[in-house]
């Protein structure tokens, strides 16, 4: 059956463009702060010091690049899976403006030092309100499109999209609750250990609802599209979905092991973190088993590489994460460079590789053209993976070394090394990390050049794309 539908991809084009711009900003700032850690004289206080730039780096990466490109792809995927044009293209266009306004306000206000200080929820309360409006508009538009769908059965990607819409709303509203003092200053509504527990319930589930369910939605959509074979097991997808969104919410306190947060909360978080391996790996296996008989595509199809490496890093991430959530191991590596190594495997390896695949897949289709250069896409892939591995591996080694030094004691029970002695040993690793970041930056520039050339060769005039109904 072939239903002719008139999809609106304006919003997708806009969000893709801007998310890539914010992604570049995130990596540029990331490279800068990685050098600041090696050469403190590169800090230019007050506006360009590490303490103010790091939140700009994380916000640009998670919200600018991550959420921006999810919005682009959710609009694209939802229309195709529902065989229904978007509920309100006007609202989507307005949402793009609001999105960019929020990101710009975020960057400027963080540089000015206006911050609530809670990680990944730094933005002051007036911007929080704009974020809520932005999310309601987005959720409404996507959900109404699903309500009006012409395809009764909802494919697994749509479940992940729906869970994302609900999850982010709940998390953000609760954690950002604050007592305003002025337009630029507020205090958290919670104090001390309560505030910490709420924060990491948010912080870890932002990983779930922003950095896991959206890329999974995109992965489940792209893999069959790109390989031409269906997902291995629908049933496994269902089980993985429900257990993932159930278990994730119990695990926030693994960020707070050995802190004054009640022990039983920590123990639950530790247990559920281990359990999470199952639903995470169900998606990994679903990806791998779908590739049965198709592994030659790793050679023939550049997009398959992005997806398979992406899901593999997801698998590694969801083994390493739970191991870090065990009390004894956490006691060793927590607060060291091991953790940024872990985070960047997820952000640069898993999330970004899937998003790159999405951009490469979408751009030629919405601009009705061919990718400018597969060779450049391959170069992008290998440089990105190399840069990321250099980053993560050097940080893991650094973390283990620092942890070992900080825990070393003399025969009389006194500490063997001072804090500064351990810090001084970190410099070589920090140089390597900065080098990895530069390689990743180069890969990103190649990617952007390739996409620009592709877009320029495409049709620029048409506002909507006539698409055949095949999903």
């Amino acid at each position: 059956m072939s239903v002719k539908a008139s999809y609106s991809d304006d919003a997708t084009k806009g969000f893709l463009t801007w998310s890539i711009i914010w992604g570049l900003v995130a990596v540029l700032v990331g490279v800068l702060i990685s050098f600041q850690l090696v050469f403190p004289q590169l800090n230019i206080p007050p506006y360009l010091s590490y303490g103010r730039l790091r939140p700009i780096h994380t916000n640009a990466a998670i919200f600018g690049w991550g959420i921006g490109s999810f919005m682009a792809m959710f609009y694209y995927i939802t229309q195709r899976l529902t065989k229904c044009p978007i509920w309100s293209p006007g609202l989507a266009r307005f949402q793009l403006w609001l999105f960019n306004l929020v990101i710009i306000l975020a960057a400027v206000s963080l540089a000015m030092g206006y911050t609530q200080s809670k990680e990944y929820a730094e933005l002051e309360w007036p911007i929080d309100i704009l974020v809520v409006i932005l999310w309601v508009i987005f959720a409404l538009n996507i959900f109404m499109t699903i309500m009006k769908r012409k395809e009764e059965q909802m494919y697994v990607s749509l479940w992940y999209i729906i869970a994302t819409l609900v999850g982010v709303a709940v998390l953000y509203l609760v954690n950002s609750a604050a007592i305003p003092v002025s337009l630029f200053k507020s205090y958290s509504a919670y104090a001390g250990a309560n505030d910490a527990n709420v924060q990491w319930w948010y912080g870890h589930n932002a990983v779930a609802m922003v950095l896991t369910t959206p890329p999974l939605a995109i992965f489940y959509y792209l893999l069959p599209k790109i390989t031409g074979v269906p997902i291995y097991s629908h049933r496994m997808g269902i089980i993985a979905f429900w257990s993932l969104i159930f278990m994730y919410l119990w695990t926030g306190a693994h960020h707070l092991l050995w802190t004054p947060v009640p022990d039983w909360v920590q123990t639950l978080a530790m247990g559920f973190s281990i359990l999470l391996i199952a639903p995470s790996w169900a998606s990994v296996f679903n990806g791998y088993f779908s590739m049965n008989g198709q592994w030659h595509q790793m050679r023939d199809n550049y997009l398959v590489k992005f997806l398979v490496f992406g899901i593999t890093f997801y698998g590694l991430q969801t083994l390493q994460g739970p191991s870090q959530a065990i009390r004894t191991f956490s006691a060793f590596i927590h607060y060291t460079d091991w953790v940024p190594g872990h985070v960047h495997m997820g952000a640069l390896g898993w999330v970004s590789l899937v998003l790159f695949a999405g951009v490469y897949y979408l751009i030629p289709r919405i601009y009705e053209t061919e990718l400018y250069s597969v060779k450049l896409a391959n170069a992008h892939f290998w440089l990105a993976v190399s840069g990321q591995l250099i980053y993560s591996i050097s940080m893991w080694i650094a973390g283990i070394q620092q942890a070992t030094m900080l825990n070393a004691t003399n025969a009389d029970g006194s500490l063997h090394y001072t804090f500064m002695e351990s810090l001084a040993e970190m410099y070589p690793y920090w140089h390597m990390r900065a080098g990895g970041g530069v390689i990743y930056l180069v890969s990103l520039l190649i990617f952007i050049y390739n996409i620009l050339k592709t877009v320029n060769s495409g049709s620029s005039g048409s506002q909507t794309v006539r698409a055949t109904g095949a999903v």
């Binding site: 309500m147 059965q153 909802m154 002025s182 119990w250």
Partner: protein, 295 residues
């Protein structure tokens, strides 16, 4: 059942929300009851004064929490490093009841600051904040000399009211004319200072015989010299002619007393026993003795 879910988005939406709320209720909502348990209160912990609160806001503004944690874990190395001399100096719920937001952090690029209050004299902080490398040569901390600018005190009273902290007109008046650095140092000096751990640690006597094992051991001198330049010169000067701390060029005190001062701290001087250990402290004592000419 599952079939129904895949066809009914509203039910899928509501059920997802419900599933998300189960873990949320148990691990995010319920713990409030445990954490707010009145028996966990610590009597000595007082709300921030106007100047300390302004200092805390500057700490937040500059994102100090991106590199410094404020939780000492109940682990041997953590307690020895950040609550030296104590066995139970790790962080407890009651310390944080006035912290909105909490500033526990997630990464120790620099050391934990939960017990920094009283560890160094104010002068050390002023010098270190303005130019960290002048005090700690290999440090990668940014300099904050710009904090010598006047503190904006226009919102101080509203801030105190928003948090419900008590204050006197005199305290508000005292904030005026202060610099941002004054406020920040006032905040840092409060951290960990209103809980009992430090007094208990200071009162604990040194056990064992105070006898220098390196007397007449020339090889200890070189190591002692290095240790002094790493740990003592910041405050006592490169030539040990004095700075923030007094000159050490003519120490006419018994070795046991010098050892005890370094090991346990005294007045504005931090304790080095738990970071350096007995052997290194004795090597420092030996070197200082050689500097004064005669032991």
């Amino acid at each position: 059942m599952l079939d129904l879910l895949e066809k009914k988005p509203v039910i899928l939406l509501l059920l997802s929300a419900l599933v998300i709320m189960i873990g949320t209720a148990v691990t995010m909502i319920a713990p409030f009851t445990w954490i707010n348990d009145p028996s966990l209160k610590i009597a000595g912990v007082k709300p921030y004064t106007p100047l300390q609160l302004e200092g805390r806001d500057i700490y937040v503004r500059e994102g100090c929490n991106n590199c410094h944690t404020q939780t000492v874990r109940p682990l041997v190395a953590d307690v020895a490093r950040y609550a030296p001399g104590s066995t139970d100096g790790y962080s407890k719920v009651g310390e944080f009841v006035y912290d909105q937001p909490h500033l526990w952090g997630s990464r120790r690029t620099g050391p934990d600051l939960a017990r920094i209050g009283g560890k160094y004299p104010d002068a050390w902080h002023y010098k270190h904040m303005a130019d960290p490398q002048s005090m700690v040569p290999k440090s990668n901390m940014p300099g904050y000399a710009f904090m010598r600018q006047p503190l904006d005190s226009s919102l101080t009273e509203r801030k105190m009211k928003a948090l419900g902290f008590p204050y006197t007109p005199a305290e508000l008046e005292a904030v005026k004319g202060k610099t941002e650095m004054d406020a920040l140092v006032a905040y840092l000096q409060k951290l960990g200072n209103d809980i009992p751990w430090r007094k208990a640690a200071a009162a604990a006597p040194l056990v064992g015989e105070l006898k220098n094992p390196y007397t007449d051991n020339a090889s200890a001198l070189n190591e002692g010299k290095l240790l002094v330049s790493q740990n003592c010169a910041q405050c006592h000067g490169e030539e040990l002619k004095g700075g923030i701390g007094p000159a050490l060029t003519s120490l006419a005190r018994p070795e046991g007393e010098i050892f005890s001062t370094i090991f346990k701290g005294r007045g504005g001087m931090p304790a080095f026993g738990d970071t350096l250990g007995r052997e290194k402290v004795w090597k420092i004592v030996t070197y200082l003795g050689s500097r004064t000419g005669k032991k």
